[in-house]
């Protein structure tokens, strides 16, 4: 009884709302761009995913020119191998170095560990930094199930808002300003006022101008809002 009363007065957050909404996942799956970075193309069921309607790219390696594309957030989900994917010039620590770079610069970038190295204690740090892991070898069914699960859990308004909020806070936007933004965003989403939400995101983007990555995260929220029923 007490917990029911408590829940009535508890402050709602963006997380509560996002969880309550059913996104159009079929649409999301069609629109998201997946990148697989692995020196052996056969490890990932690329053809099966493409035939199943996913937009998947494959790179055998990350070159220095490619880093900019990764940092830009061109890909919604990256599956990253730990070994043999980056030259020493790009990353002396191979896949681990690429992962650290991505996660440090862009917390909204979803990276899935894709490796057969889980037998090594030394590779645990790699696995822990990622948003999920898929072991090699893998089957199409298993791989798809895991990627779909990660999409459902991560490609959400609350995930991208969390990332944007973190970046904006680092850029000096105060907690109270962020709180006000979140409250307004919450209100317009709950009220199903898409036009207001888009305008609000435009305002937040002005704050985000100081950060390319925060702006990218806001863009993702915008795309998801459009997919809400």
């Amino acid at each position: 009884m007490f917990s029911k009363i408590k829940s009535l007065f508890a402050r709602k957050t963006l997380q509560d709302v996002s969880v309550g909404y059913s996104y159009n996942y079929a649409e999301i799956k069609k629109r998201i761009r997946i990148l697989v970075i692995d020196d052996n193309v056969e490890h990932f069921p690329l053809e099966s995913f493409r035939r199943d309607g996913y937009a998947v790219d494959h790179w055998a390696k990350v070159n220095s020119e490619d880093i900019a594309k990764l940092e830009r957030g061109d890909f919604d989900v990256i599956l990253l191998d730990i070994k043999g994917v980056a030259d020493k010039a790009v990353s002396p620590k191979d896949g681990f170095g690429v992962l650290k770079l991505l996660k440090t610069r862009n917390p909204a970038q979803i990276v899935i560990a894709f490796s057969g190295q889980s037998f090594k204690l030394s590779s645990n740090e790699f696995w822990e930094l990622t948003d999920g892991y898929i072991e090699k070898p893998t089957t199409f069914i298993e791989c798809r199930e895991k990627i779909d699960e990660i999409i459902k859990n991560k490609i959400t308004i609350s995930f991208f808002w969390g990332a944007a909020r973190k970046i904006l806070a680092e850029k000096g936007v105060s907690d109270s300003e962020l709180g006000v933004m979140e409250k307004q965003l919450l209100k317009s989403i709950e009220g199903n006022r898409k036009v207001d939400t888009v305008a609000l995101l435009g305002k937040i983007s002005k704050f985000a101008e100081a950060s390319f990555y925060a702006a990218k995260a806001i863009d993702k929220i915008y795309s998801l809002i459009l997919l809400l029923p």
């Binding site: 056969e42 069921p45 035939r51 037998f119 645990n124 070898p137 089957t139 199409f140």
Partner: protein, 359 residues
């Protein structure tokens, strides 16, 4: 696997307790007469406590409690410079030459811990090295898996699932066999990486669905022995489990089919229990493990080979892996057996493995 306790028992110069209540004489020093006649048994309480400082017992013995590779060890029943003052003057004189320097005990403890840790690290590194070599097989497995998927895509239907349903029994069996091979390969890292069972954090999983999918894959292996896999129960709970969880039902399915008699069913029931938990029970008919051996069945490399089953191959690692994963989740797998439930052969009966997750 090195038996740490056997090594310590065989090499300790001092009286040693490796099992509560059992003090073994050392190679150089036997336990003191005061120790043998002691009623207080303070050392029993100290066993497993891994205290940093030696403790002096009322009988004038010194107790050193520590652990080596997780095994509790107690040096006790020995008079040292720290406890000699507790003895009366007669005993003090008697033990003058038998008094051990506490520093020498501590030095021995430190030395044997270091050596055993180094040996364990070498064994572990060797296992990792072997897995590295095995790792070269992964590209071939992936290649075969991709080709099998291509075969399915050639079938009629819309989407992979429909095409799979339309595929020939041979292609379906091949696909399922590959699923089992892939899952089996992915069990190996659980042996060498102690963090592996918990990697990736917990996620809510529909356990009934998972076990149903696994069961369908295992029907390929079960076919040869004309074993039917029956799944029953009502379960909608989705407890939070690690990615490694599937290793437990995988091993139990594998075990059940391996040691089942031909033409007998493997019954698996999955039911909700408690608040959000799931109870899983595997039952199969075959040779049962004798009572005196049951406590070892989850130990690494333990294999009980029933008479007449000598040709049945196994590594003795399956149930050990299942236990590692169960421990990471905080549950235990129970094994019981009902002898002679249906078969005239006394060594056969109903094998029952059960566990509860979540709740």
């Amino acid at each position: 696997m090195i038996s740490v306790s056997k090594f310590i028992a065989a090499s300790s110069p001092f009286p040693i307790m490796l099992e509560k209540g059992v003090v073994l004489d050392g190679l150089v020093y036997s336990k003191t007469p005061m120790c043998q006649s002691c009623a207080a048994k303070i050392c029993y309480a100290a066993f497993g406590s891994s205290q940093n400082r030696p403790v002096v017992c009322p009988n004038g013995n010194t107790i050193f409690s520590f652990s080596i590779l997780g095994l509790p060890v107690l040096v006790c029943g020995v008079v040292t410079d720290l406890s000699r003052h507790r003895l009366d003057s007669k005993l003090r004189d008697k033990f003058l030459k038998r008094t051990v320097s506490s520093q020498s005990v501590l030095k021995w403890i430190s030395g044997v811990s270091r050596v055993l840790q180094e040996i364990e690290k070498e064994v572990h590194d060797l296992a990792v090295e072997n897995l590295e070599a095995f790792h070269d097989v992964l590209p071939s497995i992936s290649l075969i898996q991709r080709d099998v998927e291509k075969l399915v895509w050639r079938e009629k239907g819309v989407g992979f699932e429909q095409k799979f349903m339309a595929a020939s029994p041979e292609i379906k069996d091949l696909f399922k066999s590959m699923e089992i091979l892939v899952e089996r390969v992915n069990l190996m890292p659980l042996l060498t990486n102690p963090e592996k069972p918990r990697l990736g954090g917990r996620r809510n999983k529909h356990i009934f669905k998972m076990i149903d999918t696994l069961g369908r894959s295992f029907r390929v292996l079960a076919k040869e022995k004309r074993i039917k896999i029956n799944l029953s129960g009502q379960s909608h709970n989705t407890p939070a489990v690690y990615g490694s969880f599937s290793a437990v039902p995988f091993v139990l399915f594998d075990n059940a089919i391996k040691y089942s008699l031909k033409d007998q069913p493997v019954e698996v029931s999955v039911n909700d229990f408690g608040a959000g938990g799931v109870e899983i029970v595997f039952q199969s008919y075959g040779p049962i493990v004798p009572e005196d051996k049951r406590k070892f069945i989850f130990d690494k490399k333990f294999r009980y080979t029933p008479p007449g089953w000598e040709r049945q191959k196994g590594s003795g690692l399956g149930l050990y892996i299942a236990r590692i994963v169960a421990q990471a989740h905080g549950f235990e797998i129970e094994y019981t057996a009902k002898p002679n439930s249906f078969h005239e052969n006394e060594e056969c009966g109903l094998n029952i493995f059960s566990f509860k997750v979540g709740g």
